[in-house]
Symmetry: C2
Subunit: 344 residues, 2 copies
């Protein structure tokens, strides 16, 4: 097999070749000339996997929990792809530690594939690259794909929009409960895992979550629709989605306790989505988000490629010195370079 | 004064009218017709404030520390604007709690202005809105502007690019040190605050930070330059910037201990930036980032406004059903609607 061509790589990847898989992902991460043809070739082969987002604050034990989940899935005979969105600095050694733990538990199992992706390359690039790598693992035949994100910020919400089922991990003792249960997690959580359930305060954390949920679950993914999102209208599915109340599962990831229950909850949610039409709804939402991100970048690159570097530098200089506000500078830049959009 | 016109609002704001300030911010947050004219009118009046980013994981006590910092600045006679980037769900009550604490300590002081901004309205909208509100507070004459962000994700790094001085808050006991010192904070930290310094483990946290720093501070803001950022070349300032080693300040925000030392460190960094040319460098970086964000949104909105809704819906449908990959769909959409960019 020729692993230097689109056809060769595609065929090898679809046949289960792990070296081909790793190469394809590298092409995507480095945005080589082969990246887009590969994505186009693989895209029709994806769409079978169940995609699971696992997110939570640092210190909740997410990585260990992902390992425990993976082991349960493997016992059930399902293959698992893991994408760890890793904001760790190369200087802190955090990634290394996490990877070592992973390697010990999951090393040598051909039914598991682990890939770390860094949050470098800012401004939307990561969310799109993650979506692309998920698609590739899906096409490669992994039946469950777990995306692990540290933190609960805005970008995590974006990345979560790629998942069908989002697990929010909490843990007792991370400041007061109110602190731990922040970040609009209600809007993105399909399931809560209260990890480190052998610690003091676990019942308070569970109780706080229950109280929040009893106040009423807000409409899911409203946050995604808000603002300048492409229009997606799926009122029926939305109605159905509000019928799901996130279960709260206690886990002790280090011993594996609760991992089976968490997998059961995930699989229940998967079935629920399929039966309610929620899966199609999320597919449309994902498609709308991806189209928007790609279109935005395409248009920007298209314009920048045609803008003389001096004009750009002059605009940056003028804005930095406050001779002109950035909105006016953009308008002038566009007038100078010329953007004409005409319907055919 | 007529607070319904751009001229009236601008004059009142510059004269210190707080109602005008609140209204201008509302116009920006709601993106009304007055928003851009107001930004253009106020922009030349900004550029005097020192902008301070305060970021860290949930549970580190950031909000309390920001209050303590503000009180020290007020004792020094400086006015303070606070922008809290608040990812709290309206259902969790977290924002309310934070605001109550703030109100108690800082209420009724006309030299302090506090504004919470939510992380709703995803995909870049918040970073730009935050930059705009910072500019408005700056034009309104606030001498120190503090941006508080929860979490240490990708969007926080973007928001941090608006600050001249970024304080990263750590706390002992949030899982192991490696966990706490994640998220590429080295790249964005100008100063470390180890809060809750009366807790066990504080020396280990300080030691871990010192060890990291001794490995060498990576080039600052490299993360910002990476990828598709507009070009900014400021080699001299960059060289100077690497001469700053982030100090580590122990604080106990609840009692105010260490707050004065932290303010001193911030002011030292402010002077350092002015003397080294680093401030101008960051102004250019901020300008480049803002231009990029605004240009990207402008181009997208421009195209979407001219795209028939049926064409968009059809593209979303086709991608959701995997008839076509999103990159190809974008290309077809652009071909259909027509984008012509021509240099004059």
């Amino acid at each position: 097999m020729d692993l230097t061509t689109v056809t060769g790589l595609t065929e090898a990847l679809l046949a289960g070749n792990r070296r081909a898989l790793a190469r394809v992902i590298s092409h995507i991460e480095n945005n080589t000339d082969l990246a887009r043809p590969l994505l186009a070739a693989l895209y029709p082969h994806a769409g079978q996997a169940h995609i699971i987002g696992v997110t939570g604050s640092p210190g909740t034990g997410k990585s260990t929990l992902v390992n425990a989940l993976t082991q349960v899935y493997r016992q059930q005979g399902l293959t698992v792809g893991i994408i760890a969105i890793d904001p760790t600095s190369p200087f802190s050694g955090g990634a290394l530690l996490g990877d070592r733990v992973r390697m010990r538990d999951l090393a040598g199992d051909p039914g598991v594939f682990i890939r770390s992706m860094a949050t470098r390359g800012s401004l939307g690039g990561l969310a799109q690259a993650t979506a692309d790598v998920i698609m590739v693992l899906d096409a490669a035949g992994f039946e469950r794909i777990i995306i692990e994100t540290v933190g609960v910020g805005q970008s995590e919400v974006e990345i979560a929009s790629a998942a069908y089922t989002t697990v929010v991990v909490e843990a007792p003792g991370l400041g007061d409960e109110v602190q731990a249960i922040k970040a609009g997690v209600l809007e993105i959580a399909d399931i809560f895992a209260v990890n480190k359930a052998d610690r003091e305060g676990v019942d308070r954390t569970v109780m706080a979550l229950k109280m929040m949920l009893s106040l009423g679950v807000p409409e899911k993914f409203q946050v995604m629709h808000h603002g300048r999102m492409l229009p997606v209208e799926i009122p029926q599915a939305r109605q159905d989605a509000s019928a799901w109340t996130p279960p709260i599962i206690k886990t002790i990831a280090t011993s594996g306790q609760g991992a089976k229950e968490l997998v059961d909850a995930i699989e229940n949610h998967r079935l629920y989505l399929e039966q309610s039409g929620g899966r199609l709804w999320r597919d449309r939402l994902r498609a709308a988000t991806e189209l928007r991100m790609i279109l935005r970048d395409y248009l920007l690159e298209n314009l920048l490629a045609r803008t003389p570097p001096e004009a750009l530098q002059a605009a940056i200089e003028a804005v930095a010195r406050r001779d002109i506000d950035p909105y006016t500078a953009v308008q002038r830049l566009v007038e100078e370079v010329g953007v004409e959009v005409t319907a055919h």
